[in-house]
Structures are given as C-alpha cells and as structure tokens.
Symmetry: C2
Subunit: 324 residues, 2 copies
Amino acid sequence: MRTSFAIGVDVGGTRIAAGLIERKGRIVKDLQKLTPHNGPFAVVDAIIEAIEQVAEGVHPSEIAGVGIGLPAQIDFLKQSVEFCTNLPLAGVDVRSLVLSRVRHEVTIDNDGHLAAYGEFRYGSAKGARDFLMLTLGTGVGGGLFIGGEPYRGSRGLGGEIGHMVVQMDGPPCPCGGRGHIESYLGRPAIAAKGREAAAAFSGRAIVEEAGGDPAAVSAEAVIKAALKGDEVARAILLDAGEVLGRALVGLVNVFNPRLIVVGGGVGEACGFLVERAAEVMQAEALAGRRDVRFIQSELGNDSGILGAAALAFDEHDSREGLHR
Amino acid sequence: MRTSFAIGVDVGGTRIAAGLIERKGRIVKDLQKLTPHNGPFAVVDAIIEAIEQVAEGVHPSEIAGVGIGLPAQIDFLKQSVEFCTNLPLAGVDVRSLVLSRVRHEVTIDNDGHLAAYGEFRYGSAKGARDFLMLTLGTGVGGGLFIGGEPYRGSRGLGGEIGHMVVQMDGPPCPCGGRGHIESYLGRPAIAAKGREAAAAFSGRAIVEEAGGDPAAVSAEAVIKAALKGDEVARAILLDAGEVLGRALVGLVNVFNPRLIVVGGGVGEACGFLVERAAEVMQAEALAGRRDVRFIQSELGNDSGILGAAALAFDEHDSREGLHR
C-alpha cells in the first residue's frame, strides 16, 4: 500500500527536529525541542515524544515509517550506534527503544547521510546521482552520493568527511585524532579562535556579539560579527574556509564530483567561507576536476527531517516490494 | 565470439611492460622496454612496438583487444589524456594513435585503476567488491573499487589518492600542490630525504648503496640500505609510513573499506613501511573502521598488464553483448 506520510527526525547536539512529511516533500507539520542532556534515555524519550506529537491525528496506516538521523557513527546494516561524540548514545539501541514505543517501522542513519538524502530527493541535488554533501555545524559531516545512493562503505560506516587529516601536527579533534577538518571547522574550533581574538584588543566586535563576555564567545558570535563587517571575525572564518578548500582538494581528486552541496548552520550562514574554500580548491585540484559546482543547501535546516522521511519512505517501499 | 587473449600494456615513467594474457590471467608472453624520453610520439611508437611483439604469431581474431595503463589523468569516457606529470602525453590522443596502427580495439585508463582491476580480477582482491588499492612508486596512485567496479567519478577522473592534502604547509608536490601524500611518499621525496641524510655523516650506509656518490642517492638506495638494517634509512621509510597512515585515517573514515591492497615498487619492497602505516591508521581512525585488512599486492609488477588485459576483455565482451 502506498502510504501518504513519513516522519523524519533529526537529532542534533542542541536541538531535535521532527516533521510529518508528504511523499513529495511537503512538510505538513513540524516542531523543534531542545536536546536533553541528562542521559541517553532522556534523549530517546524526547525523540519518542516528538514522533508522537507530529503523528497526532494521523491514522498509523497512513504513515510509512520513521527515519531518525543521529549525529553519530551508525552501522547502517546492524542499525546500531557505534560512536557518538556529542551525545551519550554509543551502544544504545536507539532503533529498538523507539520501535518498542511507536507504532511504525523505524530506521536510523547518520545525520550527514540523511541531509544528503534530503537534498538528493527534494533539494539542491535533485537528480544529481553523484555528489558530495558537506554539513558544517557543531561537527563537520556529510555524505557521498554515488549512483543515486548514499555511499556507506563496507560496514555502513563511510562518509565521515570531517575526520580526514589535513594537518598532521594540527589541533586535537573531538574524536581523539589530530588535525582533522572538524578540528578547524567545527563550531568549537571557530569559537576557540574567537576567544583567542577576544583576549586581544582586536576581538572587540566579537565580544560585543557575545554580550560583552569574552568567555562567552561562541561560533555564532564570530559569525555575527563577521556578517556585520568585522574584519577580525571575517579573517577567522576565511582561514577556516582556506582549510576546507585544502581538504576538498583531496576529496575532489579522489571523487571527481560534479557537485558539492554545502549545508549545516555554519555553511548556510557563511557564504563567503564557502566561496573561499571553492577558490582554494580550484587553484590546487588536478586539471579537469576544477569545474565542480558549489551550491548552498536549498532545504537548509529541513534537509535532515526531509532526508529522514525520504529514507523512511524508501525503506517502506522496499519492504512492500514497491518501486520508486 | 569468445576470444582467447588480450594484450595488456603498462606504461611507466621508467619502463613499458606488455603482455599477452589468457582469459584466466595466465601471462603467455611478456616483455619490458625502457620508456623513451624524446617526445610523445617516441612513447607511442614504443607502445605500438611492444603490442606488435607480444601479438606476434597470434591470429588477430583471437585477440579481444588492447588495454593500456598510463601514469596520467585519464578522462575515461572521452578516452583522453588530461594531465601527465612524468611523460609528455597530456593532450596526446594515445588511443587513436595506437588504434590507427594495430588491428585491435584499444582502451586507455589510469595505471592505478588498472592495477586495482588486475588485483580484483586475478590477484589479492579477487572477489572483494569494495577495496582501496594503493600503488607506491615514483608517484602515489591507486584506485577505489566500489561494487566490483573501479570508481571513476563524474568525468572518469577519480581515484587520485596520492593528491590528498595531509599537511597544509608541507613540501611541494610534483602536481603543483603542497603537502600531498605523494610529496612525502613518492620516490623523489624518499630520495630527497636520503640525500639529506647523505649530506650528514649518518647517511653513510645510504651513500654506499648509491655507489659512494651522495648526489646519486635514489629511493632505491634508501630502501636497500634499510633492508640491510641501516637505522637511518629505516627511519626515513618509517616516517613515510607514518604519513601514509595519517592519510589513510581520512580514506578509511570516508570509505570504510574492508581491504586495502598495497602495491607499487616501494610498497612491495617495504613491508615495514606498510605495517607502520596500518598501525598509525588503526590508532586514529574512528571506532568500527579499524579492522581493515592490509595486504600486499599478489601480482606485484604484473598487476598493471593483467589489469589492462582484464579491461580489454571486459570492453570486448560488452561490445559483443557477452556477459562475464
């Protein structure tokens, strides 16, 4: 049976978003709530509550299923959470816990993969069978789409673009490594650069955006100051863009994508960072690979819930033997 | 018609190898000659001569075609040479030039891709549908195999593993970039480290392997000294292994391969370099991805001609509508 709706949930380190989505990608109802930080079961409860809220008033038979994006390393085949930096979900069987309390099939996936899925099905990458999705937020994630499907690798663990080494003696990364893309581009890294500037006279505009408290400087304060024209803040973000560009040299040389879609809160707010990355990449990538199109995510923050819903529709259809 | 043989040619910066290969991978006849360095047409002539020599005495109808691996960026769909660092072949229509003078179909591809193809069809990676091939030689190349096929990217230009940035302020790379894997692992980089050591008292054993001339120190001299137990030479190669390991962190996090096959002259000679790389990668890759198997190439130098022949068989069979 062709169902009308799917539920997409996008769990972030800060917020959980959920939506009731139609097959064609229209968001019928959506909501956001803060992510609890008092243990794994509180997170799972919040997910279930969000699902129940968006499903309210819809007959269960009309719902194809639930897709959940987590900011974690997911073994997609086993549907298990292998590793999670920002939330205490590693080893927690999120899928079964949710499944036991909602009346729908549940599929979990990495949030970066689902953002790519959303852009592929409903957004900027519609029809692009091969592309690279980059999500710049608290973490740096993304996904590869190859042949119209997310590329997951041998154990479903691929696509962790944020954890490539770009500088062997670089700063420590939240994952335990060193000099990874995320250790330059993640929100904590940008905030740290902002606080460094704040400690000096040059960071005045940044401190102002943080309400006058140098210790409260966040990535958002740096971005806001930059968008208002502060040169110090802008330089911090352009430097980050340069690192991203250098990292993209390798990805472009290895994947030769035609399209790179940039999303995530930082990616969306900082067009100039993305432009710098594109310039730097184009100057260094091997000949013939430089005509990569860079576009901003069309769906913005909704890419996560839309991708999660697309996954739920696809899983439903393949269970039912339906073809898209 | 099912033909019996294909001709595989592997063009390197130093040598051209060619072989007459049976469908099951037996090398019936093979030869090597030095790569001419007096212009593109001399290279093409040498390729044609090699093809004629291995084809001698075989009826053309028994030959499925010719595959040629070039140390170059190949646009596989257009069958054009886009970029070539070590030979003057960029923009030269190698395929048409050879095709006009031999009586067989001709297909060109990147040499790293073909080494992977050879290992997949006849060697260490037989049956492995997803793996990473690394060739450590004068250049650093390789290829990704995804779903039983070489992954070529949107324009057939993917797989250039040697040209990922691992150190943003690292040494210049022959491609014009900076801090790429090849700028640490290619033969010229290893030779340069050897010459540095040779300039100091500590490099005695290395200079000895170079016939006593510090200026003549090559990567081979460093490798030979290391294999005889010289600690200075060994340290140079272990450092290179460490860089390779750090670079593999990113590749493993993004691709999550189950298998990495290491070939190329340097990769084959230096098991301890590869072991160090594996250790370093395993210490830093994200959880769940560390159980990658590292194996040496089974075919050694023959992977190139065997992969080229496998490509020629496959192209023939798809022209004829045959299935493997």
